[in-house]
Symmetry: C2
Subunit: 267 residues, 2 copies
């Protein structure tokens, strides 16, 4: 994908994301149909589904040779990263959407042959649009985000992570997580993975750690964090698998390896 | 204090809080002198101190017979709740102020003979002012906040609490806290106690639990939460001591007792 193609696609994606966001804002106070998916905490609403359908139809009509990999299943069956692939999370942070009516995002990542080209994260209620473009930088509302600080001290860091990972769970040893919670200056938890990636990119938090994210949760965020010099890997430092569920650590570079080496122990 | 006195005092406090907030916003990008207080995570800046000094001088000059109980020590030595007492937290969420340059508040609570009369919480960077007035309701930017829902199910609740309390600590049994984290639908952590009280009052979260807050952290928030029908007590359900450090649970009423009875076990 050359720069011109990337910029045209960004303009198009931006238009759609703003349109979808405006529609969500207009209907934020309407009664919602809330159901659960994989478990009682995994919520989905009619608006998640409508919004994904909106993107899928738009993408298919404008870019018939592109693929769509979406949270709610309106896209394609994806078994390979070949070609141009749109990762669509129509509402990231559905629990916040339902309970708070804010702090949720639309997250769109566009990849070509597995390489991240464009990432858009839209904080709908704040009307904040974060954009990452391969080799062209990361932006918040059109203003370029500065590079993350290169030196970092874990003890003086703020880490976004959900308290759940400091409790007994089937994926990681929570005792080491507890040590991490006590090691850092503070932890925060905002409830939207894409938003937490955006916060890493803008330096609001020094890292974000979680143990179970799907490719559409992270596709846009990875590009944003890359473009400000941060790093995103699995919880054991491997490249992410963009076809499956991942453990995820995204952070400024200086603290990345220490968190992995010292605090993340898989079961 | 009659309604008229309360309203005059609110107008005055509002004017000061907006003035102080504007000054903080103007100087948000200036280099800061950051030092630590009780421990390495307890930060204070020159601007915390200047802002408390600002309020102390204003209050003393306009209300010479009132007392000031402030975080940074510019107020009075307070050994009793007699008279009119201003609880002043010039910057609540100093870590956010330093690291994020947002998500911090100015919190002012005005009590007469130990009774909460007025609470103001100002989210400085968002320019959101929350006000609670005894028997007159709670407001965000002038709009009255509705009463919190009266029925509540802990399993479907979002609870603000820092992950720290789910790790071994000297105050409470963290194992029960871990069960609470797993019981609720989700936890969040925003890093400013006053802001988290305001979020309880506006129904963004169903409760906020923490084990170590000073009177100036909670004085305003208690009034706000009261005025929408919520409840604030110590972690074992007792009335708060407004002269000392407290454990604190503030929440909508329906889930309050269950959290205390089942999940909070002091050491």
């Amino acid at each position: 994908m050359n720069n011109q193609e990337r910029e045209q696609m960004l303009a198009q994606a931006k238009q759609w994301i703003l349109e979808a966001g405006a529609h969500i804002r207009e209907s934020i106070d309407q009664p919602r149909q809330v159901t659960t998916k994989s478990d009682a905490k995994d919520l989905v609403t009619d608006l998640d589904e409508q919004t994904e359908q909106f993107f899928t139809e738009k993408i298919r009509s404008r870019y018939p040779d592109h693929y769509v990999f979406g949270e709610e299943g309106f896209g394609d069956e994806i078994a390979s990263l070949a070609g141009v692939l749109w990762f669509v999370d129509p509402i990231d942070g559905t629990m916040n959407f339902v309970h708070q009516k804010c702090n949720f995002t639309i997250s769109i990542g566009i990849y070509e042959d597995g390489i991240g080209e464009l990432g858009l994260i839209y904080n709908v209620m704040e009307d904040d649009l974060y954009v990452g473009m391969k080799t062209q930088g990361a932006y918040k509302n059109g203003t370029r985000l500065p590079a993350l600080k290169s030196g970092g001290d874990l003890e003086k860091s703020i880490l976004a992570m959900n308290a759940f990972w400091a409790t007994p769970n089937r994926l990681i040893h929570h005792e080491a997580m507890q040590q991490l919670v006590q090691k850092v200056r503070g932890t925060r938890s905002y409830g939207s993975a894409a938003l937490e990636f955006a916060y890493v990119a803008e330096g609001m938090v020094d890292g974000y750690l979680t143990m179970s994210l799907m490719p559409w949760d992270i596709a846009a965020g990875i590009i944003l964090v890359d473009e400000v010099g941060g790093k995103t890997t699995t919880g054991d430092g491997k490249p992410l698998n963009m076809l499956e569920k991942n453990t995820v650590l995204t952070s400024q570079s200086a603290i990345h390896q220490e968190i992995i080496d010292t605090y993340i122990h898989f079961k």
